[in-house]
Symmetry: C2
Subunit: 365 residues, 2 copies
């Protein structure tokens, strides 16, 4: 709980400084103004050293007395003031809740503060970048979906619980995880799993004991809240992340976003991206290696288009092993799902596939 | 655990009888045959007494030596044999895993057992109806997505855990819940919540203590696994379910499926539908009652079309209160989300809206 207090104090300090600066500008008769990093493709680069997407140093300025900026300026202050309130009251809100909470018509006008949550979301992104505080630390929750299972005792909001003692389910990862503490754990790595039915298989096969790992699923594309949670765990425990997804362009994309960050959130890569991630499967080589030719699926046009795009990703385009995978997929014209391993036997994934690949360090990186 | 054993014994018995009967028919030189209830709209009726959708008594027959049936017949036996194996081994599988597990080419032919999981899924539905055993009791998991939070201690697979001691998250409801036992609980009803961000709000506001209830969310449309879980809890604990969803045709649909069953699963209404459900909100009256005119959203064409369809639902078409809601929505031309209540204040939903409506029994039924 001390931890939570420190985080909040830091956020409040930044919001207060932001407000004070603007107040001083108003008092001294200037048009109040603030800067924000340009979050456009032209200002996003791949940092070869940190291996993440990041923003360059281009800035734009938002000025109250510029008519093109006035609305956004007003909205930014509204959101900042609301976040200050949420933090002070110890509450967190969802993105859509924020929008509804702040929508009202302005006095003596028919103008609304916000017309939809795209407007409020975009202002929130700007504020996050401008103040250099993570949205969650402004007490706006990320999308919650996904769960964790394994030999780890966590504490949050005064509760302590063991994620290996939750029956067949796991802990439902909430949208706010900044205040999660690890009481103790026994694991060598985090296994990040695309599919929730695969998660269930691996829980049943007790892979967390066999391979000494924590299981996390995001039920498809890992939503922001789950990526943040993986990042926090990986940093606190200094554990590598091993990604286990479908062998298709969408699986490669899930891995990419987890490891390198996303264009939309490039200003946050430092707090989201997990450079210490490796890719265990599925790969195109698995198809022949494990005799899975009969359980592949034909690529759709959208898959083929995505392969072409991924060949241009900064982290793939000079990486022979990854380029080989993408080309192989194009040649074979097929994708392979995680669950296709059940074609060998239900426990094949836990008894042979994962142990062989993980113990043999057969990763793509 | 005794409980689990009994369930499994019953399923195994039914599968064995099914197999024996077919074997006897083969031995006596007949074409093996089995019946299954017709799962078509023409055979689905609304039972006014039980208040659920159910199948009539029309049957169809599947006969091995009828060329139009041979493939499906073979598939049915494959699935039945596999389920027998899963139950005996104490494993559960996902729907897609089942497909992959059983897909192989037939000896001396290029014919595959199954071409996609739609084929295997449809055979599974048939088998479920024919044997009159729930898919989960054949050890095929339902879709898992959603969580529970509140004053209830559950046990499953040898673990016992308290769903009010899980930080800001809850227990991630797994796809197999047949073996969940309730150790103890303190609740007067189950609150079934559409939106996961609303779930987070209500956890934060400690509504489970204030109103003495359990919170369950399905993160949108409640998936089959969550509906089954709500049904089991509601029956075991003899608790009513109060549904809290968006005030729009989709929210009404979520409520309908939870309470009355669905056309697709009419043969399972007895095990899924929760007739003991009431609707607390959002309603069209809430908009004026609570001054939410500024935070409604315009109906789309698809919404308008759905309103017309819902007016024909057997449980709505003779229900004046529900017809009034549907007509009001059409007249106003708007929908209202749960989270729009945040427009009053963040805690409005927990301090005023829900207590007032639930304690005052202001429900739609």
């Amino acid at each position: 709980m001390e931890h939570q207090k420190e985080i909040d104090q830091e956020s409040l300090k930044k919001i207060n400084e932001f407000g004070k600066r603007i107040l001083e500008e108003i008092k001294s008769g200037k048009s109040p103004t603030f800067n924000l990093p340009l979050r456009a493709k032209s200002n996003i680069t791949f940092n070869e050293a940190t291996k993440t997407l990041e923003l360059g140093d281009k800035y734009s300025t938002r000025s109250f007395l510029n008519i093109a900026h006035t609305r956004k300026f007003m909205q930014s202050l509204l959101v900042a003031a609301a976040c200050k309130e949420y933090i002070s009251e110890g509450k967190t809100v969802g993105k859509r809740e924020l929008y509804y909470n702040l929508k009202h018509s302005l006095p003596n006008s028919k103008e609304n503060t916000f017309e939809d949550d795209i407007e409020s979301g975009s202002v929130l992104n700007d504020l996050e970048a401008s103040l250099n505080i993570l949205r969650e630390r402004l007490h706006v929750e990320a999308k919650a979906r996904g769960s964790i299972y394994g030999d780890i005792v966590l504490s949050q909001a005064g509760d302590t619980f063991d994620c290996s003692k939750l029956g067949r389910g796991g802990w439902a990862i909430p949208g706010y995880v900044e205040d999660v503490d690890v009481v103790n754990h026994k694991a060598d790595f985090i296994l990040a799993i695309e599919n929730d039915a695969m998660m269930s298989r691996l829980i049943q096969e007790k892979i967390y004991k066999k391979l000494n790992c924590l299981l996390v699923t995001g039920e498809g594309m890992f939503p922001r809240g789950v990526r943040r949670f993986i990042k926090i765990l990986s940093e606190k425990l200094k554990l590598p992340v091993i990604t286990f997804v479908d062998g298709d362009p969408y699986g490669f994309y899930i891995y990419s976003v987890l490891k390198y960050g996303s264009i939309e959130l490039a200003h946050l890569s430092e707090r989201y991206a997990v450079p210490n991630s490796k890719y265990v499967g599925m790969t195109m080589d698995d198809i022949d290696e494990y005799g899975l030719q009969n359980v592949t699926e034909k690529l759709k046009d959208v898959d083929k288009k995505r392969i072409r795009e991924e060949m241009q990703y900064p982290w793939f385009k000079d990486n022979p092993a990854w380029l080989r995978q993408l080309k192989l997929m194009e040649q074979k014209g097929v994708r392979i799902e995680q669950q296709a391993l059940a074609n060998k036997s239900l426990d094949f994934v836990a008894k042979k596939y994962l142990p062989e690949k993980i113990e043999g360090q057969k990763f793509l990186d």
